[in-house]
Symmetry: C2
């Protein structure tokens, strides 16, 4: 994709691009899909799980699907220590518990990418509805819970786990990226842009996660109605230099 | 646009398509832009305003911009009586007042299309933030306030007033349409699909307006950041037969 290539070339994060990417909740559909796509782009991925065996099994499955890929599996807190950008791809019901467990593992300077969406399904409600989160959003809850010095960036809410996992499916959609550190957002944008067909768009400060997280239940409704795996695109953006 | 044409042909609303479309707040940027685009599509528009003189002036201005267009201007409650689908394009600060004033004019069987967004700018806050509305959203507030028998459909939140008003600008984006009456949504979809380059997408029940209204402050932030007039597109939808 010339578009994502252009973005990749604008960014300059040599320290990041050669590092493994830990994915907490990497055995779940979203986390595994992101792992697959990153691995296909030549990035080493570390699949995190509560269970070391399940993590290793998922990593082996990934390498089987993608010969030549570099994937390993570790329990979540060990996975967290393996790379500077940590992806959190867990259901909202488990977000707080996971962040509590990671308090000792996350280090200042790391970036936590929160992809959590507070669907009402977390409390046996509908997946087309959003819960009210005391902090305002799942992203803001994450920011409250990470150790000092860890930047939270909110992203990956609108890309479908199903299409990520279907490597024959060509992605062509945007990822809204919100966060209070411009530098952290750029590094996350560079990571996302490695995946062919995903274009990261700067959606502003972390508080915008309140608005972005609402897209997921909206798309879940659209998916049911139109029997599809929808995503979003922002129209009217310049063709290049988004970051 | 073959896409919008296809949608138009799927719908069957002869009773609607030949009727004028009243636009409450039609002298404002969004209302006037929608009026312009509908008028260019051959639809008669009735521009409503609190002030009859300003309504007439806007209608004259529209006909001057678009020779052959059919536009008239009336005070809001008179405008409301002229067509079955009434567009409400007023700032959130005035939404409640307008709906109170229209209680005697709106009749059972009419459809009110609410395009209101509760931006925090309504109370001197930021346009990139959403207010909490007691009913849950501006659309739900409208539903609480209209007379019995009037269906509220929430739509037109993401299309930029600036691009609507620039007739040289080719639109190419989606409009999320939410409402509790499927029939009313279809009629509104037919109306929106008359505008070249706008594709109406069924976004579910009226409560989805909570999620959709959040797109406007998100896009306002993106507009400022990227110096553009952004809109949205849902990816992955079938090419035709959305309604």
């Amino acid at each position: 994709m010339p578009r994502t290539t252009a973005i990749r070339h604008q960014l300059d994060s040599p320290a990041v691009s050669d590092q493994p990417v830990p994915i907490i909740g990497g055995t779940g559909a979203l986390g595994f899909g992101v792992a697959l796509r990153l691995a296909r782009a030549g990035t080493s991925v570390v699949i995190g799980s509560r269970d070391a065996g399940r993590a290793a099994e998922a990593a082996a499955r990934l390498e089987e699907q993608l010969p030549g890929a570099d994937a390993s599996g570790l329990v979540n807190d060990e996975a967290t220590r393996t790379g500077p950008i940590v992806l959190l791809c867990v259901p909202f019901r488990n977000q707080s518990e996971n962040l509590t467990n990671l308090k000792g593992a996350l280090q200042p300077g790391q970036i936590l990418v929160d992809a959590t969406v507070p669907l009402a399904a977390a409390v046996s409600g509908r997946a087309t509805r959003l819960l009210g989160v005391p902090q305002g959003s799942a992203g803001l809850q994450a920011a409250e819970m990470v150790p000092d010095g860890v930047d939270v960036v909110s992203a990956l809410h609108t890309v479908s786990a199903a299409t990520l996992n279907d490597l024959d499916h060509e992605l062509d959609e945007d990822i809204l990226v919100a966060g209070d550190s411009v530098e952290a957002k750029k590094r996350v944008a560079e990571l996302i842009a490695r995946i062919d067909g995903l274009r990261p768009v700067n959606a502003g400060r972390l508080e915008a996660s309140k608005l972005i997280e609402g897209l997921t239940p909206l798309l879940i409704g659209i998916n049911a109605r139109y029997k599809t795996h929808a995503g979003i695109r922002i129209t009217g953006l310049p063709a290049e230099e988004l970051w």
